[in-house]
Symmetry: C4
Subunit: 288 residues, 4 copies
């Protein structure tokens, strides 16, 4: 449960990495320092507020009434995110690596569309891409106590990825065959205009969504639909069974693995701060 | 499995707490005495009947026909609940603490709107708030054999609260991103008038509710909707897995923990009245 | 795993119980003799065919075309079921006990409506009650290998009945409070005509059925509906978790309990016919 | 974890089985040789592309525009599948056995309709049957790492087949009884035209699909529908519980059973290639 930074020894003597850049890095990238936390909370609010602004702007009534104000808000956030992006580039030692990383691209996409919308026609659609900045929340969510939980969920899903692939493969084949049968049975005169549309209907039915925009009209079609529904009802048990089985196992293993470095006592809770056996303080798990 | 009241020694000599108040407290607040139980059952019926009256009053046909009778019934219950509220204040030693407590406020809200509706216009809407008195049922449900079960469920949900928070966070980000994509793909001309509305549609679809008031019209929209549906179908496995895992663990631990004070035999059922090993009688678990 | 009939010794000498009545009892009530099995299969087909006839008769087109034939079929089955009922009364030693039992009443109701429909007006509605004869299938299903499985399911559901009661109580309170809130928010002008109707809508939404006949129109209503949907999505995890936990435990215990009488070897499959350790033959489990 | 082909010794000397036929058999039927893999991947693409062609052809706009091209594509695939079928017959030692096998018939049906559509009127409907060729994907999916997972899922479903039969039997009886009740309550004037249609509605509701094409109109009908929905909400827990319980058990047992032949170490992952204890190489599991 102890993770120590192995790079720290070298970093202090790096001539290219001025103290102010190091400080900046601490604030922006590290989640366990005082200012790092403050920055994270600030960023979280900025992202959420800017997303709300984007969403409100898409509502016609609000756009007509408060369009001007929303545009100002948008530019404030855009400039803030631009400055943040520059600060991130300055504070890391290898900017290239950051810029081409997943979060680097997302960071860029979260303010670029606003600038582009000035020069390009159809910029309206471009603006919508800004909601992608919501994905940045995941980076912040890494912090704090949610880390362990989300890691457990991720591992459980990862462990069951082959089972889930097999399951989805079977479901896809099933909806295609079922959709084709319904196209044969109902036909274009009852709204099942083509096989892809029938497959769409089969998915809507099997997943128990059931919009009702397309629904079987003939007796045979209704009988077939009943079978698909009952199948969907039973089939949902399979992914649930898979994931439950993995989560149960992962929970058990995690309890076993949370070992104290000092006395090797097992079974600590994920948010325990002290060993329950010897009282040794655990280091924060957040910086991984 | 034995819970003894630690305050009882002191209470008897309290000069402010007259015997009749103590008796009243026993009837109203304690669930394991004869009169306490009678009072609880009476209160449960009063709450349920008054709720049914409120619900019936909202049906236009019934209001026109039996409006007068329902108003009389309402006033009977209102006065009864008022008297009960006064009795509760009188019977407790620290009325302030009761009045500001969660159930104290709910008790107040369960009769106040009826009085206010005399003085205020728009009292009709106010009257509806009376259904909040239904929440009082939870206090009564604390009694009896359901206690252990509801505690187990509550603990299981509590233990999985971080996992569920992470899960809901991820679901929210997913529906916002998906809703935005659908707004781009379908647009206002197909009923996806704004991003918030599209997010609403994404929630309706992901949770497999599927009203059908808004449904994708374009081919790309239908393809995207299919992906959301299949995701929703798979994603539902996650909370199920989380809760199942916790309940299984909680059930196991409870069985282990139901220990007899006399002989330390483990694994008693929650509603066992005698130790299965030594025959010692268990004290009632209801007064916690 | 051995169940022996304790009554057999006495029965042979019972003067009131003539051999032909005993034989009849064997055929009708016992599932493990050759003729008993034949009778069960015959009865199962008679029930299913008569149900199909009742269902077809309700379809207008078919009633107009084949009404006469269906009426003949119905009378054949009615007379057959009447004869069977008389045979059952004759073959049991205490007819009173049989007639007042659950299945005795169902047996009576499965042919009585046809006779009553001759004398009574509105007999058409009466005729529909005949589908109740479908419940007789459960008696037959008791036989064979399904017995063990259905017993396991029944026990798992029984063991979780308090948890499920608590759960449904909480769900009911939730839908009433939510329905009331929606009635306040949307009001009669958007189709939420009364609180009971709003509660109905809340149930339709929470269970993710989502007909779409009533759907929120206002922004606040849609936001509130989103919360209910997400709640419903999460809440479904609870009964699943409860039942899964019980079934897992019941499966484990059953495996442990299938003990051979001869050598005490544990863990036999439910449909094992010989002990896997000593080879002793198990007696049939079907007659319980 | 080792499976060796027992026939290989004999096959080499079989005079009827010329070397080129043996080579052909290796390519077509065996998944673990270099060319066998190449062939599988090629076949998978051919099947998927031909299915997409069939689906596109059913869309009217596309058929009118690219009908000619799609017909050419179809004939290319048809001839390819015909050649493949002939090759399969030639390469096996007992063609009769292959032709009458499940996959033999599917292979035949995947190209026959195209030929028949020349001679027969109404061949359009016949053409749709070609989607049945999608089922051939299952044969290819047998290969690779998905094998173990799909086997585990299949075993879990197989182990719970009696429980699931009992469950579906109970669900069917429930929807018939409920559908009949709704037919009585709502009647043809509210869209519940016949018992079969009411049963269809009951299935749509119980499985939480909820199209909304038929929905209860009367108060009693809505109350009854609410009960069915809440039942459906609770009932879905049962198949989930059954399957989860089986998958959990199957996962545990599989881990226990993956034993190294060399050193008897247990608990290897399904896709492990070397023993984690002694480093012995496992033979490929794919050819079973």
């Amino acid at each position: 449960m102890k993770i120590t930074s192995k790079k720290s020894g070298k970093e202090e003597k790096d001539p290219d990495w001025a103290p102010w850049r190091k400080k900046l890095h601490e604030i922006i990238f590290e989640h366990h320092t005082y200012w790092g936390r403050k920055f994270d909370v600030l960023l979280l609010w900025a992202i959420l507020l800017s997303i709300i602004a984007v969403m409100l702007e898409s509502v016609e009534d609000i756009r007509l009434k408060y369009g001007e104000e929303l545009r100002i808000v948008e530019w404030v956030f855009t400039i803030a995110f631009t400055l943040e992006y520059i600060a991130r580039i300055l504070s890391v030692k290898k900017p290239k690596y950051y810029i081409t990383s997943f979060y680097g691209i997302i960071d860029l996409l979260s303010f670029l569309p606003t600038y582009l919308s000035i020069f390009l026609a159809g910029g309206q659609y471009l603006m919508v891409i800004r909601t992608i900045r919501l994905l940045r929340v995941f980076r912040i969510l890494k912090l704090a106590r949610f880390l362990g939980e989300s890691r457990l969920l991720k591992n459980a899903l990862k462990a069951s990825r082959y089972k889930i692939t097999v399951f989805f493969g079977a479901v896809l084949i099933l909806v295609i065959v079922m959709g084709t049968l319904m196209y044969l049975v109902e036909g274009p005169e009852n709204g099942f205009n083509s096989i892809p549309l029938s497959v769409y209907w089969a998915i809507v039915t099997l997943t128990t969504v059931g919009y009702g925009d397309i629904a079987p009209q003939t007796v045979t079609g209704k009988a077939l639909a009943s079978i698909i529904m009952l199948l969907g009802y039973a089939i949902i048990a399979v992914p649930t069974g898979i994931v439950t089985s993995e989560i149960t196992q992962a929970s058990k293993e995690r309890k076993k693995n949370n070992v104290c470095d000092n006395c090797s006592a097992e079974g600590h809770d994920i948010d325990a701060k002290y060993c329950r056996n010897c009282g040794a303080k655990f280091e924060d798990e957040m910086f991984s």
